[in-house]
């Protein structure tokens, strides 16, 4: 398949949907691509009652002429103005060559995972991870769940799981109570968020809420049976069926980096119109800073309007967006990781789950790249998406440079990408032959 779009939006979360809808108002031919089977991104996932804003934006999308490509992931950027995508459907590996004049990257964020003994056991998942599995049909009623990690996601997940009939036995937030109190005060000018927090806590009121507390081990034979929690110098075991543990979010930067966008302090640098350092490439939502759904929608709208050259309409929204800047900073401070979490892994704890690389072999390397070459850490199918954020925190390594493809793809798709690059070079193929084999 080969298609051309005036404006192509990657990521159909709140930011991407808003960008595509506003861009299409101008009559431009707009494409919206996402690797999930349906629009909504992380927060507007099916399987839960959607809030009014979500229903509203999805209805606008349904009514728009936007060309939707659900179930495709972008894996390469073979030439300027071209992206390659591969189908994520069960039974085909079709490749698509997508040409664009303007590109909006709305690739969102993923959870940060920190390794600790037992974290590779089945039924130890991310907080958003278990939530997504439940929305995807995993029965949770009557199951005992410990929710742990850091960030506002924990309460949202606990509330949703409790609503679905789970017994949330404990919620463990690594941040100390003082920092959370300061964050709550900062929120007082955002009454909507305060109410949401109160509602979430009410919904999960039967669970113990511990601050300055985290799991130090997940225990069980073949599958999870209990977790060991630690707070100050106290340790205790809690029996459970699932541990939902995520340490806030990290932006999905692979695609922006692949396109050459400048990264500043760990996020994509944009100007007031969401324009990145690469002309014609805009970015909106979590990759520019973790700020939640309202900010993602605003940024998406600004990016969509700016990509369609409707700057005058966008300028009204730029003012609104500035109100969120304080929130983004306050949230980042509130969820800052306790340095003690660096001592979580034991020598044998696996850090890279794809290649089963244990913690003890990773000491002594100076960068992710160095460790990757010598230990295969970050070499597997996830391409360092899980262990990269962990090693950054554990060892202070910077992010590895991104080489195509940003996700493993089949040989036929890689060949198609090589053709699209318009040259005979098989660089991409050669670089990845090894990785694809490890799948």
């Amino acid at each position: 398949m080969k298609q051309h779009f005036d404006i192509l939006v990657i990521g159909a979360g709140p930011a991407g949907i808003a960008a595509a809808v506003r861009a299409a108002e101008s009559g431009a031919r707009v494409g919206l691509l996402d690797d999930n089977p349906a629009p909504g991104g992380q927060i507007w996932r099916k399987g839960a009652a959607l809030p009014a804003a979500a229903r509203d934006w999805i209805a606008k999308l349904d009514a728009s002429p936007v060309v939707r490509l659900h179930g495709w992931h972008v894996f390469a950027h073979p030439a300027s103005g071209v992206l390659m995508a591969e189908s994520t459907a069960a039974t085909d590996r079709e490749a698509a060559e997508l040409h664009y004049d303007k590109l909006v990257l709305a690739t969102g964020a993923r959870e940060r995972f920190l390794p600790f003994p037992g974290w590779t056991l089945p039924n130890v998942m991310g907080a958003g991870g278990l939530d997504a599995m439940v929305r995807g049909g995993l029965p949770i009623s009557g199951k005992r769940v410990v929710v742990a990690g850091t960030g506002p996601l924990l309460l949202a997940v606990a509330a949703h799981l409790a609503h679905r009939g789970a017994k949330v036995v404990a919620i463990c937030e690594q941040a100390p109570v003082g920092r959370l109190a300061a964050f709550s005060l900062r929120l007082l000018d955002q009454p909507g968020k305060v109410m949401q927090g109160i509602n979430y806590r009410w919904a999960s009121r039967n669970a113990r809420f511990h601050t300055g507390c985290w799991p130090i081990a997940a225990n069980g034979q073949g599958s999870l049976e209990s977790v060991t929690l630690q707070r100050n110098d106290q340790q205790w075991d809690v029996a459970c069926d699932y541990l939902a543990c995520g340490y806030h979010l990290v932006p999905n930067l692979e695609l922006p980096v692949l396109l050459g966008c400048r990264i500043q302090n760990g996020f994509v640098a944009t100007d007031k119109w969401q324009q990145t350092s690469i002309p014609g490439v805009l970015c909106a939502g979590e990759p520019t800073g973790i700020g939640g759904v309202e900010l993602a929608i605003l940024e998406g709208q600004i990016a969509g309007l700016a990509a369609a050259d409707r700057i005058s309409v966008a300028s009204g929204l730029v003012q609104k967006r500035s109100r969120f800047q304080g929130f983004v900073r306050a949230l980042a401070n509130a969820v800052e990781l306790d340095p003690q979490l660096r001592t979580l892994p034991s020598a044998e704890t696996i850090v890279c789950r794809c290649e089963d690389v244990p913690f003890h072999v990773l000491g002594g390397y100076s960068s992710q790249r160095d460790a990757k070459l010598h230990t295969r850490c970050g070499m597997g199918p996830c391409q360092g998406r899980i262990c990269g954020a962990a090693t950054q925190f554990l060892f202070g390594w910077g992010a590895d440079s991104v080489r195509p493809p940003v996700l493993t793809a089949s040989f036929s798709s890689l060949a198609a990408a090589s053709c699209a690059a318009g040259h005979a070079s098989n660089d991409i193929l050669n670089q990845n032959r090894k990785d694809t084999h490890t799948l």
Partner: protein, 81 residues
């Protein structure tokens, strides 16, 4: 809860799920793991969102599909390691 209305096979055993259920959820309903790691550990979904590749399984003969990104369809044949 609506009646389960999709039947598929996970490692040869029939599993019934409601429409909209992911293959990863169907795998966990029928057993504790999705794959065996390179050192022989059992593994199951971690991220639920297509990032970690811990949920990969063979679906209708296609190997290494991320099962959390695929919805169940009637008669699907899913195999885990």
């Amino acid at each position: 809860m609506p009646d389960p209305s999709i039947s598929l096979l996970v490692n040869g055993a029939s599993v019934s799920v409601t429409p909209g259920t992911t293959v990863a959820a169907a795998i966990l309903m029928s057993g504790p793991r999705a794959r065996i790691s390179v050192t022989g550990e059992p593994r199951a979904p971690l991220c639920g969102m297509g990032i970690c590749f811990e949920c990969r399984a063979t679906i209708n003969g296609f190997a290494h599909r991320r099962s959390c990104q695929v919805l169940c369809e009637p008669g699907m044949d899913v195999r885990t390691a």
